[in-house]
Subunit: 498 residues, 4 copies
Amino acid sequence: MSILVSNFINGSVVESTSSRSADLFNPATGERRGQVQLSTAQEAEEVVQVAKNAQAAWQATPPLQRARVMFKFKQLLEENADALATLITEEHGKVHSDALGELTRGLEVVEFSCGIPHLLKGEHSLNVGREIDSYSMMQPVGVCVGITPFNFPVMVPLWMIPVSLACGNSFILKPSEKDPSAALVLAKLLKQAGLPDGVFNVVQGDKEVVDALLESPDVAAVSFVGSTPIAEAIYAKGSANGKRVQALGGAKNHLVVMPDADLDGAVNAIMGAAYGAAGERCMAISVAVAVGEETADRLVEKLKQKVEALRVGPGLGVTPENEMGPLVSEPHKNKVLDYIQSGVEQGAKLVVDGRNFNAGAPGYFVGGTLFDNVTEDMTIYKEEIFGPVLSVVRADDYQHAVNMINEHEFGNGTAIFTRDGDTARNFAEQIEIGMVGVNVPIPVPMAFHSFGGWKRSIFGPLNVHGNDGVRFYTRMKTVTARWPKGQRESEFVMPTMK
Amino acid sequence: MSILVSNFINGSVVESTSSRSADLFNPATGERRGQVQLSTAQEAEEVVQVAKNAQAAWQATPPLQRARVMFKFKQLLEENADALATLITEEHGKVHSDALGELTRGLEVVEFSCGIPHLLKGEHSLNVGREIDSYSMMQPVGVCVGITPFNFPVMVPLWMIPVSLACGNSFILKPSEKDPSAALVLAKLLKQAGLPDGVFNVVQGDKEVVDALLESPDVAAVSFVGSTPIAEAIYAKGSANGKRVQALGGAKNHLVVMPDADLDGAVNAIMGAAYGAAGERCMAISVAVAVGEETADRLVEKLKQKVEALRVGPGLGVTPENEMGPLVSEPHKNKVLDYIQSGVEQGAKLVVDGRNFNAGAPGYFVGGTLFDNVTEDMTIYKEEIFGPVLSVVRADDYQHAVNMINEHEFGNGTAIFTRDGDTARNFAEQIEIGMVGVNVPIPVPMAFHSFGGWKRSIFGPLNVHGNDGVRFYTRMKTVTARWPKGQRESEFVMPTMK
Amino acid sequence: MSILVSNFINGSVVESTSSRSADLFNPATGERRGQVQLSTAQEAEEVVQVAKNAQAAWQATPPLQRARVMFKFKQLLEENADALATLITEEHGKVHSDALGELTRGLEVVEFSCGIPHLLKGEHSLNVGREIDSYSMMQPVGVCVGITPFNFPVMVPLWMIPVSLACGNSFILKPSEKDPSAALVLAKLLKQAGLPDGVFNVVQGDKEVVDALLESPDVAAVSFVGSTPIAEAIYAKGSANGKRVQALGGAKNHLVVMPDADLDGAVNAIMGAAYGAAGERCMAISVAVAVGEETADRLVEKLKQKVEALRVGPGLGVTPENEMGPLVSEPHKNKVLDYIQSGVEQGAKLVVDGRNFNAGAPGYFVGGTLFDNVTEDMTIYKEEIFGPVLSVVRADDYQHAVNMINEHEFGNGTAIFTRDGDTARNFAEQIEIGMVGVNVPIPVPMAFHSFGGWKRSIFGPLNVHGNDGVRFYTRMKTVTARWPKGQRESEFVMPTMK
Amino acid sequence: MSILVSNFINGSVVESTSSRSADLFNPATGERRGQVQLSTAQEAEEVVQVAKNAQAAWQATPPLQRARVMFKFKQLLEENADALATLITEEHGKVHSDALGELTRGLEVVEFSCGIPHLLKGEHSLNVGREIDSYSMMQPVGVCVGITPFNFPVMVPLWMIPVSLACGNSFILKPSEKDPSAALVLAKLLKQAGLPDGVFNVVQGDKEVVDALLESPDVAAVSFVGSTPIAEAIYAKGSANGKRVQALGGAKNHLVVMPDADLDGAVNAIMGAAYGAAGERCMAISVAVAVGEETADRLVEKLKQKVEALRVGPGLGVTPENEMGPLVSEPHKNKVLDYIQSGVEQGAKLVVDGRNFNAGAPGYFVGGTLFDNVTEDMTIYKEEIFGPVLSVVRADDYQHAVNMINEHEFGNGTAIFTRDGDTARNFAEQIEIGMVGVNVPIPVPMAFHSFGGWKRSIFGPLNVHGNDGVRFYTRMKTVTARWPKGQRESEFVMPTMK
């Protein structure tokens, strides 16, 4: 049975009139699931108008009532968690428990957004001058757009949607064309939770739709998560069109292993962080920096055993569950294989080779791959691979490790494994990275904090969700008020005036 | 069928071993419903130990998980709303829709407490000195006690419970002995929501139990709502025993009607605010201050018609629903009748006399009562009546109205009705009252703001719920940290040291 | 005596090697004061490197110490207030008391920045998971650039500089080439206050320097205030180069006069707001919207008398002080005259004609000018004139006035004059403008609030100064930490391990 | 020359009419400096009335203006630092550099209070219901009282005064009768800074004055720092009189030395923390807990050498400066000697005996004293000595150390010295102490954080200075506003209505 994934506009699934579409595959089997429509620029603009029209009434709905839609949405997400996670696995490939984990992290942002009456508070100053008061109101910006990547088809949209909606905006989601189905489930659950039609919409498509959204004068804000070149282009184009944009790009996350680290703990942490979701996470650890040769030797030995023992295969229907699923697509698999080849050619030591891995299934599988002796000039060090490939770099000492990370183009996440308070504190202060783990391999901030990297991993001053998310999705209005006297004193002298 | 209302301790309903009990009545019929046990001091102390023992594990449960118990509790309250409201009416007497309204206001505090991961955040300062950081943690205080009044058997407990629990405390509720049943429903729903046994407990009783709780060295915080003399005594005694106490007392809430007011709007507002719940609300309007004789004449005329037309009767089972139910008890009814008599004797003009009102039912009914020409020296002006008795005071001018309110003993709520921005702003700034309505008759702050009066309507610096509630139920701990150097630089020079 | 205004780099005044310069004039006399150097792109990049090098040590200086430089800077500004204000008048033309007022508003941001230890606090969450903590640190972004307009040569730089510096950044100011001298005074006072060399620098120049700064990879953040076309271009270019940018543009600020307004108060307010600083303020009132014909007739009559009586002339050396000085330059004067002519040609009623005004002085004077019957299609309505020209528009009713403002391209400031609370509240909520006055003609937010408009008056999500300013000048870093167990339990069992 | 220290009331030094007085001594010489008057209860009440009368105008002064008085006060304190510090030494005895340090810590609270316009902000919620807004205002409480101890005659008053004044309160300081002179200098500098007369007052005295202040109905808030029995009594009495009270009491601060600590660093830290100001600090370290016998042996050996080498003598006029001065009084010296004797008698090992120390000066000197093998049942362990006496307790392991601290009556400060992140984190979370140092011996929170202990070291929910201080000195008022419609729509239809 082939599916056709369409748009969700003004409260209903609506087929696009576009003649263009893209194929959808199940990455664990390589089978074609169906197609996703690639909408037209005109349709994108029509969705913007739908969203714009619906927004005014939603803005006028008190935050307390908007929050209650989010409370209900949370409940519905929980009730539909298994089905949603299954859908993620079918289109993305990650194993079921990982898909459930993704959903939970998204759900936490919904929970955060339930507090919007508190989070939206402005400031009130009595007597900024004598009998003059000033106060601020955080009002919605209008129509918001989210352009989201294939690797988290539920979590990344949920970083944006609940905060934006709770703030009183309408929202248009442009999901990845690789796994677009989950977006429609979110849309249906939001409607079921009581969200008025037109406030949340999904438009499927590719660059044509994205460009139309970035050019529409009625789009106020754009949130993007994806690769750095696209993030940069979207930030530039959206900004040139006068919009506020937050664009999150690529990453090359280093995990530093100090000689005093709990090595077994570090190895376990690295395994999940490097190979979970087949490395297709912007917070995946792709570089392990071993400080000192002895540390490196012990680390690589322990990793080797674990990587060779990784259970790789389909993300559904296998007991016990596999630890790692396939890559998302055939082209992406080939790209990862090319990276591995380049590593070999540029002189890295291939400790575990996942290229000819047999997952017992016909999908886009690459086995866990481990390089040692990777150096800072190699392509596999400099670029984001987004696959199950971990590079071990050997640092001379602590400062070498820090410098390496600070000089890298990206600044999303990093971690250090140590027992030493001074080392951890110095690392946290000095490292030029937005999200830092101390003995935590994937330091994704909680929903009530904010997600965001540094350097070329983010464009725009505000991070995603948490207080920053609320600030991004609101405009500040500051009122200064005084009142003319006379009425309360005089009116009883001349009561006939009224 | 006679009921016996007992305690809820460590996850179960537990009968008291006490020989003492109090009768429970249905105020709409005067029938005896059953009895509530009056527990012993020893039982109170045992509950404290239960709560103390359960608290440590609950504190160690991350705030995110504690919040999820609150999310579930909200859902259960909604599912059980009608039954809870019915129970309120059966024991308190207020009409069903008003009982549902009470529940909603309580529910909003549960919703607020769902945001506890955000609300509990401490502050973090990098480099208070060179390489010295400082940060604060808001930890639970331990065992908290709530002593709550008969007039809101669900809302007032819910002002306290969700915030206290979400902060990681355990809680002991001592409900009013007049309507103690709702407390047990709350206990069961909290358990059903996943709260561990012993974290929330109910102990029924009177002064013996209260004194025991105030004297127990293991009680850290006491929240009280009731009359001012009791509030003051509890504040003094709890404070003398080293506890933090917030004690909210009585009120005499004035509503000022300015000549420029929307008079019909003001009259409608006054009717609900003065006679809703038969005036048994700490935020009820019991004094209408008409500014100027002409305003007063028009106001009294309009009020007279409305008061005479009030539908008074049982709170359940009548269609259309009555607007006002009975008073809570026979003694309280007699007290209110005495106040009315004193008003007549001290020279106020009794415009509508509710004393011999026939509600067509045998309960504790007093009809809507309206006085005109009340003056500041009369008992009915100075004291809180807590019945359906509205006093109209005629003020010479705006300033007279302000002075009257500022000189009154109580400072809970007040309101002004005007169209004039200057009048409203001046009133809001100058009035010595904690909660102020501008064209809003009962300005109860939302759950995400804080409830609390001024003067002798509150004892203690912190209000209830909102940020103040979180502050009340937490202790601040401030950490200042630096680290000795050496490890990260030296350890590779002498690796044998490890 | 002709002056040569140069750069301030690394703690010293440094002459540019550029061959290019621009003439400086005293607008009250038309005399040439001297020249300002127009630095080269290479010099701009050199300043960036100076600022970058100085920043690291400044960042490492604890916020408490950085604040103390701001405390001292405040004191020095107060001691040098008269001299600075005189300099402003000599180059910009505004009258002395107005220059002092500008300084005070700038000084308030310095005062605000003295609280930086408090303002920089991050958030700390204990137990985001069991024994896992998370906290945020707000670290400086690095090198910041301010590009500031001629109309507030001290205030606008001080909106940016103290906040940026207090946050631990270094700063490069590119002042207007029309009045560049005050920037050097600020630089000297900052040095005198103890700011290390290189942390604050001034580079004089025009588009060449601006482009170089926008292209430098070592500039992290750009703040701009000026006209909308330039603001938009700078936002686009800076964003395309990956920087965070806040760019504030033009304005057309409407003041609505309701029929119930205190008309004399409104007229006085309009006079200062429309003609103060010769209308060269981004918060100047350039449109008075009279609601109803009667209101309009009375308003225009009263304004006419006041405008005709305006004391216009040099800003220094006249007693009593003039109310309005000259325009900033000859070309700008001509541009304003052209606007007046276009108003006449397009059918507006010229009530007071300031074109041939004789100020008794040879400078760039235009007298106070008043138009009536201006309509929304006229050039003088649509464009920002930045001169002493007030347009009265007659609105049919309140809603007409609101619509007019909401449909205008700009969204900086607005005001309404009314006594009616409902009107003011509705206006504040519904108006699509960032800064709103209620009976306050120029509602510039205080330093501890934030300055910023809506629509095409601002580009970027964050406003200037206040909390938004601190957020703009900082990068968030979020740390998530857990620790491996073993040390505290085990080390005494096997002390030889250490 | 004998001095007579009097009151400061309504802007002037005023001699008390009281016949009672107390002698003042120079503790470094034992010479009688003069006398301090002990005012009468009636004088106390008169001061309250002065403060009450002055408060209204001060409250009406915008926070921005009040802040500027604090800015000026800071400047004056800096200019008078040396004289003030000298005065501290002359009456208290601590060495000059320590007195300057005390002043700096107080000054930082003045700096914090300069940010009051920001700190006083209330919250503003648009649309808590449809077209209903709610906002809070933090208004001053009225007349505040500070009762302060001898050990910090400048710092502790400055914890309270600037915050209270900046919030718009008036303040009455009752200083210690042992060193009352500095209070008068503060009063004069505040006046010089522009504080209106009557807003700050000093009343000298003892229990008679304190009782009068606690009983005055016009005192709203009381801040106390002193010993626990007095703190408890003042909290109870003030609370019983309906006031808000924060009362800080005694301490017994433990410093835990882990086996992995930087021992030399720990020893240096302990020396300053135990013997600085002769141990007369509520944050002094009086117990060093060595974990493990080996740690204890090394610690005691190193401490012994340092304690024996302590330079003890007069706090002024000696070069190089002494490290430790005399105790504050003869009776206090005798009390400390008794404690040492009890330690010996109860079996502690007296490693260094300071009892017969010869400081080369006739004052109240006790030499540095060191006990080893102190156990939890000894008087010197259980009670606060407030002298230069350090007890070393030997803990079996980490958990023993934690339990010991958690079971102690007091909960002010503590510290741990370790390199291990896990140990520090566990300690910070588990310890029942309000202020925790990690490798910081005296973890006094900065002015922008809040000072306060746990358990019987504090009474009342709010700490001193920082946000808590602002909350303590303000009352919350919450306004809920809606407006009647009609005016803006109707008035132009029937313009004759106005």
